[in-house]
């Protein structure tokens, strides 16, 4: 499939990056704030399911999840700025970057796997099962496996994200 030359290129974003020196670092700061919200809250959840700080009940922790969703939204929005802004930043076409950068590919793969892992958490009924966990109660083995996978995958997402510039 031949993609048009303009695919993933947004002139306004390229203009902002080229004209204002604060634009790129601001996007990075927001990307990291999103990362902290998303991975921080997910890790808190994973740790509790793995048996750390077992005196905490699980259901109230759920109230933090909208903040994790906000974090994910921030990361996707600023991540798109980085990809669409590649031409203005390092003169690599975004489509070419997705095609050649194996670290970007690995990051996207790990995000996809984390998404499937989350889907498994809901589909397997573990989500409802852990909701009933009161202080001191142990999560079911499957919930622990999903929590450990989540921890593993999000560390990977951060790792591959950090390596993206070296894959270009």
């Amino acid at each position: 499939v031949e993609l048009p030359e303009t695919f993933l290129q947004v002139p306004l974003i390229e203009h902002m990056i080229g004209t204002y020196r604060w634009f790129w670092p601001l996007a990075e700061v927001l990307h990291f704030v999103g990362l902290v919200l998303l991975v921080g809250i997910v890790t808190l959840f994973d740790l509790r399911l793995l048996g750390v700080a077992k005196r905490l009940p699980v259901a109230p922790l759920r109230r933090l999840l909208p903040w994790a969703v906000l974090g994910f939204t921030l990361c996707v929005a600023t991540g798109l700025i980085f990809v669409t802004g590649l031409w203005a930043n390092v003169a690599v076409h975004p489509v070419e970057a997705v095609r050649i950068d194996r670290y970007l590919q690995l990051k996207l793969l790990f995000i996809l796997l984390a998404g499937l892992n989350l889907l498994a958490f809901y589909q397997s009924g573990m989500s409802r099962a852990v909701d009933r966990l009161g202080p001191g109660e142990e999560a079911p083995p499957l919930a622990k496996i999903i929590a450990a996978s989540s921890l593993f995958l999000w560390v990977g997402v951060i790792f591959w994200g950090r390596l993206i510039p070296w894959g270009l």
């Binding site: 740790l47 793995l50 750390v52 077992k54 194996r102 921890l151 560390v155 790792f159 591959w160």
Partner: protein, 41 residues
């Protein structure tokens, strides 16, 4: 943990959840670094 919150001596050793968490984190880094090394060239 006793009623007054004191831990028995054997509980001062690393508890099981922490060992699992550290193992997962260590595994993540080892696997990521290995993939990086293998895809370098």
């Amino acid at each position: 943990v006793s009623e007054r919150g004191h831990r028995a001596p054997e509980e001062h050793r690393m508890s099981r959840p922490w060992r699992i968490v550290l193992l997962v984190l260590l595994l993540a880094l080892v696997i990521d670094v290995t993939i990086t090394y293998l895809t370098m060239y």
